[in-house]
Subunit: 221 residues, 2 copies
Amino acid sequence: MKNQVVLDNRRDVPEATIRRLPVYRHYLKQLESEGVVCVSCTQIANWLSFSPIQVRKDIEFTGVEGKPKIGYELKDLIAHIENFLCFHTKNEAVLIGAGHLGYALLGYHGFKEFGLEIVAAFDNSQDKIDKFINFKKVFSIDKLEEMVSRMKIQIGILTVPASCAQALTDRMVAAGIKAIWNFAPVKINVPKDVVVQHENLASSLAVLSKKIDEQIKRDLK
Amino acid sequence: MKNQVVLDNRRDVPEATIRRLPVYRHYLKQLESEGVVCVSCTQIANWLSFSPIQVRKDIEFTGVEGKPKIGYELKDLIAHIENFLCFHTKNEAVLIGAGHLGYALLGYHGFKEFGLEIVAAFDNSQDKIDKFINFKKVFSIDKLEEMVSRMKIQIGILTVPASCAQALTDRMVAAGIKAIWNFAPVKINVPKDVVVQHENLASSLAVLSKKIDEQIKRDLK
DNA sequence: TAGATTGTTAATCGATTAACAATC
DNA sequence: TAGATTGTTAATCGATTAACAATC
């Protein structure tokens, strides 16, 4: 069997590859809906303005097999990418903090196809408690521990102000949460068996600022 | 003068460094408010669970000078980071799409200290037009071109559904926008002198899924 | 002084890019 | 067949890490 070594060493996959694969998938899904059957790395690369070599390398990690000259069968390629990214592992999550960002995430239909389902939201505002947002009920934050442990929820999405991020993290961890998607603009401390993914707008804005700065310098030349 | 070579070659700064610098800054600001005067790379690294060597390397890019054994003067270090990240270059932006994500971004007070000011929002919903969100007025999307070109706005923040992202991108570009911060879950095509920063939740979610997957595998051992 | 920390150069590691044989 | 594309190995490039002299 081909690609055995790669498949056995998934920990060696570059994060950049993992980030690009959903982008390929998005484009492939679109092609699929247009009735396309086969696709080559060159096509994908041209569409996304990436290099064909990089696309092929990324795709290689998924273990899919293509045919020289023809490319990859679209269905097969999508299936391999989704399998590789654990799309079909159902993950239930709770969302902490039903502010505007929380609302936006609750309303984002894209998560479900990624295997992520937000089953409940929590907030401390009476105005929000017991209301529904996109068919998801908002509960009092007091019920956090009980529901998380009873439903064995593994993922917490943190969309609260920086000032209470750590306290709520501690409560989630104590209740058994194993992964936190942190949108609060602050570092949170967790035990080392808990996974944290930090979404940092400040970092992104810094990158954007630098890009603009570079562009301005190019224009001046 | 020290660090001349580095300062003259800012284009060589790794994106990872640019992403970490605002994180350091956030911590340093906190220390400053506590009355601390000096700080070493080791301290920063310990706090953020990074390596001291990496912190020093990142800080080196800003051109700040420290003192062996003592470290860096906090004020000086913050100033160098902010200067390096072009924090004090005032950038005016418009936000397109006053949905929940748009609301969340309009309400985020953190942007201003990064030199970014959202001066207006645009939407096509009559319910939202002429309302104010966090002191920012929402205008009809029909007024986009006129206002952007009249006010010479350079940055557009795109928080619209995927289906209309490209059309609005084209309108912004035609009106003179030079940088787009794209929160729509789709690739947008722009002329090569326009900067795009794509915020991709799908990619982040993929990284989180893989981390969880790895963690589960570790637990099984 | 002694020792911690900076500044700077070198080594390592890993991701990206290139090269090329295999093949449809 | 010819040529485009895959699969795989090698080379390059750049970021991270290490090493060590300088210095407060």
